[in-house]
């Protein structure tokens, strides 16, 4: 059944199985709700259109609208159904054929960090100095990846990439620029190997910006396809949780580094990425602060923490956050009209140029196409699993790197058909089944992480409405 929603003062109908999107008037929305009785709400197993209409809903409609108009709306909805554009039946989802290919690695080159952000899922950046099979430093300090291990990770990726031409490496941490020498060495090695085997690497770095200066910044601007700089928005919000280890305020320094960096970046991809917690549910102001500071490519992400954490986003916060996303969409359109636009990562969508159905079904590819490697060479399903010893899939330093096929299979099968909640969700093809790590860590792997689902659905409604506005303009 299609999903009806109101966004940016307009009504829409989104058909989950066909991907069709319609802008509708209020009458048509009411007629569709009456026809499908439960109003497009989530949670019904039966996704088929009911034969019977809800007579009480139609009675109300008949008292408020002219019969001829109701008949018109019914006829138009009927025409869309006949064309297979509305209430399309669930087809056979393409099964993800796991051919053993790996196309992207997240290299956690540093388990150390020069900031100590309270909400960091990596335990303030050092991952608790956990390694499953590799060494920690003698002092017990967090480990940095060696150039040898990084090189073996590159070899592993190339060896496992099959026919894929475009490969990706994201340098992550902790703070990856604390190990910049290895980052640079790895990039140069990967480029050399890529030239030998006829492949292309796209490099990304996720950095807190403290060391994004001078030659380091120049090198990243020259060699990296994408750069993500973590800044939370307003100074007071940023400083509340993204403090330096010695407690000092580094905001102005980071902002200055980021401004200089993006100014020199040309047309290459970059984002300033913030995290919001329950302390700044007014995060549209943070987006505005970042846009005012001159950053045109912004991503703000809800913090992901256990429910009992004092900063956690919980179900009770969802309505307030939904209002704030509305505010953010308003800011987005207003600034666009004023000639001061900014891009918000989660409002990006292109229904015509969207990924293929295979990708939309399979999601992020964690555990099979996308893997993470920690400083000791341990291979994890993704960066979120780093340190979870039971989830280690292998080690790149092993003589014959072997990925446990049973463990890999478990991740390869995790797609939008895994959970009942996903199968009936109107937004399933927009999220690809959500984050498997969230589902495992916060819901015992039995269901998707509902808070993230609710926020995804809200962001998607707004993205679709903005897409529709773009078509009109």
């Amino acid at each position: 059944m299609a999903h009806t929603f109101r966004a940016l003062n307009k009504y829409f109908l989104s058909d989950p199985e066909s991907g069709s999107l319609f802008e509708i008037d209020e009458l048509t929305r009411r007629v569709y709700i009456a026809q499908t009785a439960d109003g497009g709400r989530q949670g019904k197993e039966n996704a088929e259109v009911k034969d019977k209409t809800d007579t009480s809903q139609f009675s109300i409609l008949n008292s408020q609208f002219r019969k001829a108009e109701i008949a018109e709306a019914e006829a138009e909805l009927g025409r869309l159904r006949a064309e297979g554009l509305l209430d399309a039946p669930a087809g056979d989802y393409p099964r993800f054929h796991d051919d053993g290919v790996v196309k992207a690695l997240c290299l956690n080159v540093s388990h150390a960090c020069n900031l100590a952000c309270e909400y960091c899922f990596a335990g303030e950046g050092d991952y608790g100095s956990q390694t499953a099979s590799g060494p920690q430093t003698a002092s017990g300090a967090a480990a940095l990846m060696s150039a040898e291990t990084a090189g073996r990770a590159v070899d592993f990726l190339i060896a496992r990439s099959g026919k894929r031409r475009n490969l990706e490496i994201d340098f992550f941490g902790g703070e990856p620029l604390l190990n910049f020498g290895v980052v640079r060495e790895t990039v140069e090695y990967a480029k050399k190997r890529a030239a030998e085997v006829g492949k292309t690497f796209k490099f990304t770095v996720t950095t807190n910006g403290v060391l994004l200066t001078g030659e380091t910044a120049d090198y990243i601007n020259s060699e990296f396809y994408n750069a993500v700089i973590s800044i939370d928005g307003r100074k007071e919000v940023h400083n509340l949780l993204r403090r330096a280890r010695d407690g000092s305020d580094r905001y102005d320094e980071i902002l200055g580094n980021a401004r200089r960096f993006v100014k020199a970046r040309g047309d290459k991809s970059w984002y300033v990425r913030g995290t919001f917690t329950n302390r700044n549910l007014d995060f549209a102001r943070d987006a505005e602060a970042l846009a005012d500071a001159g950053f045109a490519h912004i991503s703000l992400e809800p913090v992901v923490l256990p429910e009992n954490h004092p900063l956690a986003i919980r179900e009770e916060h969802v309505p307030r956050i939904a209002e704030e996303y509305d505010r953010l969409a308003g800011l987005y359109t207003r600034r666009g009209r004023e000639g001061r636009p900014f891009e918000f990562f989660h409002f990006n969508i292109d229904l015509e140029g969207a990924p293929c159905r295979e990708k939309l079904v399979a999601g992020c590819g964690a555990g099979c196409q996308y893997l993470a490697v920690n400083p000791s060479g341990d291979i994890y399903p993704c960066h979120r699993y780093d340190g979870v010893k039971e989830r280690v899939l292998g080690n790149v330093n092993a003589k014959n790197v072997d990925i446990d096929p049973e463990k890999r299979k478990k991740f390869a099968e995790a797609n939008i058909t895994k959970f009942a909640e996903c199968r009936v969700c109107w937004a399933k093809f927009y999220c690809g089944g959500g984050c498997g790590a969230n589902a495992e860590f916060y819901c015992g792997g039995r269901r998707p992480y509902g808070v993230a689902c609710a926020l995804l659905r809200k962001r998607t409604e707004l993205a679709l409405a903005l897409y529709a506005m773009g078509i009109e303009n």
């Binding site: 199985e17 066909s18 991907g19 069709s20 999107l21 319609f22 802008e23 048509t28 709306a73 138009e76 869309l80 554009l85 399309a88 393409p94 290919v101 196309k103 992207a104 990706e168 994201d170 992550f172 796209k202 990304t204 040309g266 047309d267 290459k268 970059w270 984002y271 045109a296 992400e301 891009e343 918000f344 990562f345 990006n348 969508i349 292109d350 229904l351 140029g353 990924p355 293929c356 159905r357 295979e358 990708k359 939309l360 999601g363 992020c364 590819g365 964690a366 196409q369 960066h383 093809f429 927009y430 999220c431 690809g432 089944g433 984050c435 995804l456 962001r459 993205a463 897409y467 529709a468």
Partner: protein, 57 residues
């Protein structure tokens, strides 16, 4: 149609795209914590909405 305006016509059931795998992995983009795949472009095609903003600005 008088009451309904079509914005996108069944983009999910079109033939022609077949999982070549050359697209960007979603977690390598900007989020790292909240999975969204629909805002990833297919191959080299740029996305709508924010795509009008030059990165050189």
């Amino acid at each position: 149609m008088k009451h309904i305006k079509t914005i996108a016509k069944a983009p999910l059931v079109r033939e022609g795209k077949s999982g070549c795998g050359e697209c960007q992995t979603s977690c390598q983009s900007a989020c790292k914590t909240s999975c969204t795949v629909a805002n990833q472009p297919c191959g080299q095609k740029r996305i709508r909405n924010g795509a009008h903003i030059s990165r050189a600005e």
